[in-house]
């Protein structure tokens, strides 16, 4: 059926409304459920992974770069927040700006990594995250970072408020993905991911597109890391730079399906849900069940759960 500009515009509006509704529903649900469910830490972790999976979606889903060291930005955010709160005694919300700043500075330093691709990029980003961890956890820097002995931020401890700030960050991450999915800029990123040479011949600045996506993705992780530090208030460098944060976010994203809004959401709700259920009920079977799920996914649904629909030509939000 022929398409026209008017039809394309109508379809775009429908998509934006649907995507935004899903984003709003998730944020509202995570806000409301806090009133009914007492395990706040678990809910907070859900919010953390919902946001991280979308942050990773920005760089992987839209440009094809998969940074195994994504946790580096999360850790940078956590320490950016902690350092200004500990040493400058600034209000926590200002600390969040420092969290964002720390992640962005790290992202700028790591920009040359974007010259690599595939596994080389993934491994180099992991090494970079590990390097930042080694610096932060260095006992000689105890006066500044508290080294391996961990950070205590009891002055700003505010579990309820920080939970809602985390929700705001989740909303921001979701809206970023909604924007990328429905904007010409997002379309240009997908063009770069599909074929960077062809994208350049469409007039797209490949370097600029990748850089913006990289910074946005780092920004989300930095903000999440900052609010994690605020909410948890006592933590150690090996928690803030725990590689399993990267792995979890990656698995959730891939399980659901990258580039979509709903894929990473499904990935987190299903897999992190199972993780918590099994972890509490039958922890001895956790590794087995989780491993089997991931193997089945890789074998039968390499493009994630949403591919059950997309391979039938159905557009998934």
């Amino acid at each position: 059926m022929p398409d026209t500009a008017a039809e394309a515009r109508r379809r775009l509006i429908r998509r934006v409304v649907l995507d935004t509704s899903i984003a709003a529903a998730v944020v509202i649900f995570m806000g409301v459920v806090r009133g009914f469910y007492s395990n706040e830490l678990m809910l907070f972790n859900f919010v953390v992974f919902l946001a991280l999976a979308q942050g990773l979606n920005i760089i992987y889903g839209f440009t094809g770069y998969l940074p195994f060291g994504y946790v580096g930005f999360y850790g940078a955010g956590a320490y950016g927040f902690s350092l200004v709160v500990m040493h400058l005694h600034v209000p926590a919300l200002l600390g969040m700006a420092a969290a964002a700043g720390a992640a962005l500075v790290l992202a700028v330093i790591l920009l040359p990594l974007l010259r690599l691709s595939g596994a080389y990029f993934a491994i180099a980003s992991m090494a970079a995250a590990q390097a930042v961890y080694e610096v932060v956890a260095n006992p000689d820097l105890e006066d500044i970072t508290k080294g391996p002995y961990g950070v205590s931020l009891s002055d700003v401890f505010a579990p309820a408020f920080s939970y809602y700030v985390a929700l705001a960050i989740l909303a921001f991450a979701l809206l970023l993905v909604v924007w990328l999915r429905n904007s010409r800029f997002g379309m240009s990123l997908q063009a770069i991911r599909d074929d960077s040479v062809s994208a350049a011949m469409a007039g797209v600045s490949v370097v600029r597109g990748r850089t913006i996506a990289w910074l946005l993705s780092a920004l989300v992780a930095g903000l999440v890391g900052g609010v994690f530090a605020w909410h948890i208030s006592v933590f150690y460098p090996d928690t803030a730079f725990d590689l399993s944060v990267s792995i979890f976010a990656t698995v959730f994203l891939l399980f659901g399906g990258a580039t979509t809004l709903s894929g990473p959401l499904l990935g987190v709700f299903i897999l992190y849900g199972i993780y918590n259920v099994i972890g509490i009920a039958v922890p001895q079977y956790f590794q087995f069940t989780y491993g089997a799920l991931i193997v089945l996914l890789v074998l039968f649904l390499p493009n994630g759960l949403v591919s059950l629909l997309t391979r039938r030509g159905i557009r998934v939000p």
Binding site: D3, A8, R184, Q190, D195, S198, A200, M201, G203, V204
Partner: protein, 240 residues
Amino acid sequence: MSPEPLLNVEVLVKRFGGFRALDGVSFHLHPGEVLGLVGPNGSGKTTCINVICGLYAPDGGEVVFDGRSIAGEKSHRLVKAGINRTFQSPRPFLSLTVRENVEVAAHYGDPKPGFDIDALLALLELDRYSQRPAAELNSAQQKTLDLARAMATEPRLLLVDELAAGLNPAELSRMADRLRALADGGMALLVVEHLMGFIDKVTDRVVVMAAGREFFGGTLADATRDPEVIRVFLGGGHHG
């Protein structure tokens, strides 16, 4: 034909390690003119296109477009300046729809305001596939989409790299008509092609390349009578 060439390629050199893919090739091209670039495999035709469109930086020589040296400039800037190309193997954005493929170029390639994507798709007979992912198109359709992506940036110079390969006779004839129509509209075209029938139908003159440099310039009819051209294409035994 305008007296000033739109494109001037002067003693262009491109090396890959010790291999000189371009070894001092020179030619020029006027607005509205179709120049065929022919030669055996490995003679440097595609490398030449890759240098002109900014994919490779040259190691020597000059590329002057519209009176300005452009050698080594980034591709996306050259697209905005008015240069575009198609690829020997089509390279559409497979996860985007046909319309989105063209939309990206129409947005970032700086065509004139009010550029009509739908009219372009209709002109190239891609309108009925506009909502389909580019991955679902067949090879000939993907080649046409490649051309649509290039045309959406309204280039003044279009580099056409073996667009005809793999097309059936009817598709070939339609593609030749399209390219001629673009030239009649004032666009300059540099056409790399092995199919001599296609070259004959489309081009005003040809440059024959071998080993990275040109050694014949003129009409295709004259080229086919040139003993040196025959020797390069058929081997060393023929002496005219």
